[in-house]
Symmetry: C2
Subunit: 180 residues, 2 copies
């Protein structure tokens, strides 16, 4: 294939809790060598959850990389034992973060968040038939989250003031608008 | 503010061409300490360019982090001297990657691609009034790109077969559908 780069060697630079960083030496299609910095990530899910009174369920939290508070749809990393089935992550995170469960989860789309330097795949689910959970899963003591339910107009306001500011949440809102 | 984490110290782990990785020690709202792995990125732009015969301009290229060829909208990193004005990046990348220019660039949205671990901001522009460039900017010898123009039906096929698979391109396609 005319575009393909051949990996000559891989060096691990950092093996963290969230981020695994490697540097690859590759051979380009023209025979020259180049290096590629790659973030390996176990993937994540985001969940569109709409309440019976037609509000979007969002989570308010501090985001260290941005140094600000954001409003995002419920989301979380795919754990090791969920790698074959991100739907398990969707169910778990919806319970942990919102105390809702759903009759059905519909996969709306999946996408790489930043294909230039990371392999993180995001799965976007629609939680259909939202209701309060019967059995609450344990929450992480060190996560500080606030559950928020916003109408379409309030969502627009939160986009305008910059509190809603990430790819998966903006895409979720576009899907929500198309569902209406 | 009840969510805010206080940064106690920052350690640089890797300072690369694309990725700058730090580890922060932070104090949580409950007084406990935690560490945060943060990818610092200079930001990027993506450009929605529609040809006069209503096709979407896409770039086919190898993506090392994914180990596959993708079709993405024209895009690129914001360079050091463009930090105050990502519109400059949009104009430059559109010229370099597609040999098109535009009468006008409209900022459709901007978003953090992966706020859990990275500060990368993506600016999504619509290039209005597309036409061939008069003056071609130099191209990078080591970039292997193929320019592709796809109809709406062909775009859907490329989503289905996984060649279109990243956040900014899928969002661009949703904006395109809403423009129609």
């Amino acid at each position: 294939m005319k575009f393909k780069e051949e990996v000559l060697s891989t060096r691990t630079i950092f093996d963290g809790k969230v981020v695994h960083l490697t540097e690859e030496e590759v051979k380009l299609p023209n025979g020259k060598k180049a290096s590629r910095e790659i973030i390996h990530h176990q993937g994540a899910v985001g969940i569109i959850a709409i309440t019976p009174d037609n509000k979007l369920v969002l989570i308010r939290q501090w985001r260290a990389p941005l140094g600000q508070v954001t409003l995002e749809i419920p989301a979380g990393k795919i754990e090791q034992d969920e790698q074959d089935d991100p739907l398990l992550t969707a169910k778990r995170e919806l319970n942990e973060e919102t105390r809702f469960e759903a009759d059905q989860f519909e996969l709306l789309t999946k996408f790489y968040t930043s294909p230039g330097f990371a392999d993180e795949m995001m799965y976007l689910y629609h939680a259909v038939g939202l209701k309060e959970v019967k059995k609450e899963l344990p929450q992480d003591d060190d996560e500080f989250l606030e559950l928020v339910e916003l109408s379409a107009a309030e969502v627009q306001e939160a986009i305008n003031n910059g509190e809603i500011c990430d790819a998966k949440t903006l895409m979720a809102i576009m899907f929500w608008q198309m569902m209406e």
